[in-house]
């Protein structure tokens, strides 16, 4: 099952880094709205980095930590977005409920598709993830009356947060919304960190390291691949729900396989063998994509070149590259 272990893999510890790392990472994230403007960024872009970072970190639970390849995570990202959108558009004006429903939709799909795929391995598994994601895309695209079809689900907006009598209005205020996203992001990464230090998390790493050994210690490999897949889709669907809240719409492109590829490249670009690598990858990718698409009509080529360059020149990702340099 070691389909994704990079060449010359360095020890990927479940640990989320030393205290110093954590302090630096959180300081950067918390202060982002203060300095984003100076480097040409804006609050929505910062939110986007966090959202895709979360999606990529969720994928990386599977890719980097369990060693199982998914190229269809757009499905769970997109379903998270649609789930949130459905609540706001058709049901109640509540941001927390929207997020919960997004998670529910994405994770239920993860449970179902995962059950159908868990016995397959390697490239077969990867192809199935792509196919299942395409099913979701296809449904969203053609079920016009519910999803809005090609134009997407529109006509909703995120609702203010009610904390008892205190109201936080994240509607128009990008900075406040950024902190809301950061709050959700913090909870999710905290959960991931705890998970990876738990017995369940260790079984995931055991599968990556040697699935045969794991099986002959009494770990039912397929069941644990399934669980890892579900957990991974859970976090990716949280990101999807936030994405819908950020844009105030959900459209089929969120489910398209291009998004799947983007999430994978973010994880690989940052360094899929480290906990925070995918966040770094997301930051670089999202900012570059934003810059390039505003600079040239040939942005597709640039994106393509990023993919090719990462594969050919930085297979260990930026963090892996830096660590090798310093080693």
């Amino acid at each position: 099952m070691s389909t994704t272990t990079a060449p010359g893999a360095m020890a990927a510890k479940p640990a989320a880094g030393g205290w110093l790392h954590l302090v630096v990472i959180w300081a950067v994230l918390i202060s982002a709205p203060a300095w984003m403007g100076y480097i040409g960024g804006y609050d929505a872009l910062a939110s986007q980095v966090l959202i895709f970072g979360l999606a990529a970190m969720g994928l990386n639970l599977l890719l980097g930590f369990t060693g199982v390849m998914s190229f269809g995570h757009a499905a769970y990202f997109g379903l998270g977005a649609y789930g949130a959108g459905f609540v706001l558009r058709y049901w109640v004006h509540s941001t927390p409920l929207a997020i919960l429903c997004g998670i529910l939709l994405g994770t239920v799909a993860g449970v179902t598709f995962g059950a159908l795929m868990m016995r397959r391995t390697g490239i077969y598994f990867a192809m199935l993830t792509i196919a299942f994601a395409q099913i979701c895309y296809y449904i969203a695209y053609s079920w016009n009356s519910v999803t809005g079809g090609y134009d997407g689900l529109r006509g909703f907006s995120r609702a203010p947060l009610h904390l008892g009598s205190y109201v936080i209005d994240i509607r128009g205020n990008g900075t406040l919304f950024y902190y809301f996203v950061l709050f959700v992001f913090a909870i999710c990464t905290g959960l991931m960190g705890l998970l990876l230090r738990s017995p369940l998390g260790r079984t995931m790493i055991a599968l990556r390291e040697n699935s045969q050994r794991a099986r002959f210690l009494g770990i039912p490999v397929e069941q644990h691949v399934w669980i890892a897949f579900i957990l991974s889709t859970f976090f990716t669907s949280v990101a999807g729900a936030l994405y819908a809240l950020l844009n105030n719409f959900a459209d089929p492109t969120a489910l398209y396989y291009v998004i799947s590829g983007n999430i994978v490249i973010m994880a690989v670009l940052g360094g899929m063998l480290s906990f925070w690598g995918p966040l770094l990858g997301a930051a670089v990718f999202v900012v570059l994509e934003n810059e390039i698409s505003s600079m040239t009509v040939n942005w597709m080529s640039f994106i393509g070149v990023i993919f090719v360059a990462v594969v050919l020149f930085f297979p260990r990702g930026l963090l892996g590259f830096l660590r090798r340099r310093s080693a």
Binding site: T4, T5, L116, Y124, I130, Y138, M300, I303, G304, F307
Partner: protein
């Protein structure tokens, strides 16, 4: 009514043939090199555009022959400069690489030939309907069916009866042993890659005459061709052919009464096959799973 049934059925069959042609190319590459080619649909587009640009100089028939070969040659160059470097690496890298290539090729097509659709004109002899009632049964469509049948038969004959073909089949099983028998497996893989891409190029020329040219004309065929491979069973080219035909026929039949359902049905079939026969129709224990 009969006209409508036949109309949808023909459309479905034509679509199914494109699935077959694409899936066989993807499968060839997957079986020998273990690479999923996301850019396969973009090579298809290149085939169509090459034919468009060559036709003024070579005529339709010249372009028809030369364009797929040219696309195959480009496939070999891409394989030699990039793809072969990720063979020893985990699958995620080859997926990302072909994914990136898909972007680059599509953007090249946009830049060179423009964003808007272009027509690929076909000889008048092929263009006219055979009868007024069955207006959709043009000579071109019959020609298309014939070409695909000949191409598929030629491919299987090549793999089954020639030495190189036998070596490719042996290589899908054990490349080390093939090389120990004096065969340059680097060359074998390059050739095989070129062959698979050439099939996409041929599909592109054929599709261009049917639906015209645009930069993402192949995109909608890529995923169905993956499904054809999954349904047929990974590792078996015969399985891919069967899988391609099955989804082709299924979408043709579905389109008789539900024309929008022609794509839905192939996903439904995939799920059914996965539950009922997890290795696919012709998939065998231990082959590339």
């Amino acid at each position: 009514m009969l006209t409508l049934v036949l109309f949808n059925l023909t459309n479905g069959i034509i679509l199914g043939l494109f699935y077959v042609l694409m899936a066989l190319g993807v499968s060839l590459i997957l079986n020998l090199s273990n690479v999923i080619n996301f850019a396969h649909g973009n090579f298809l587009a290149l085939g169509g555009y090459f034919a468009f640009s060559l036709a003024p100089y070579l005529g339709y028939w010249g372009a028809f022959i030369v364009a797929p070969i040219l696309v195959g040659v480009i496939g070999v160059i891409v394989e030699q400069t990039m793809i072969k470097r990720v063979y020893p690496r985990p699958h995620v890298y080859s997926l990302l690489l072909t994914f990136g290539l898909a972007f680059i090729i599509q953007d090249m097509c946009r830049t060179i030939w423009g964003v808007n659709g272009l027509p690929l004109s076909i000889p008048n002899a092929l263009n006219s309907p055979l009868s007024n009632q069955f207006f959709f049964l043009t000579g071109y469509r019959i020609f298309l069916v014939a070409v695909v049948i000949v191409a598929v038969a030629a491919l299987f004959a090549f793999l089954g009866f020639t030495r190189v073909g036998t070596r490719i089949r042996a290589g899908t099983f054990d490349l080390d042993t093939v090389s120990a028998l004096g065969i340059n497996i680097g060359l074998l893989r390059a050739l095989n890659f070129g062959l698979g891409i050439g099939l996409a190029g041929l599909a592109g020329v054929l599709a261009g005459g049917q639906i015209g040219l645009n930069p993402n004309m192949g995109d909608d065929l890529v995923l169905p061709s993956f499904i054809a491979i999954i349904i047929g069973g990974i590792g078996s080219l015969t399985g891919t052919l069967v899988g391609g035909l099955i989804i082709g026929i299924a979408s043709a039949v579905t389109s008789i009464w539900w024309s929008a359902g022609s794509e839905v049905i192939i996903y439904i079939m995939m799920v059914i096959i996965l539950v009922a026969r997890p290795r696919g129709i012709m998939g065998e224990e231990g082959m590339m799973t």
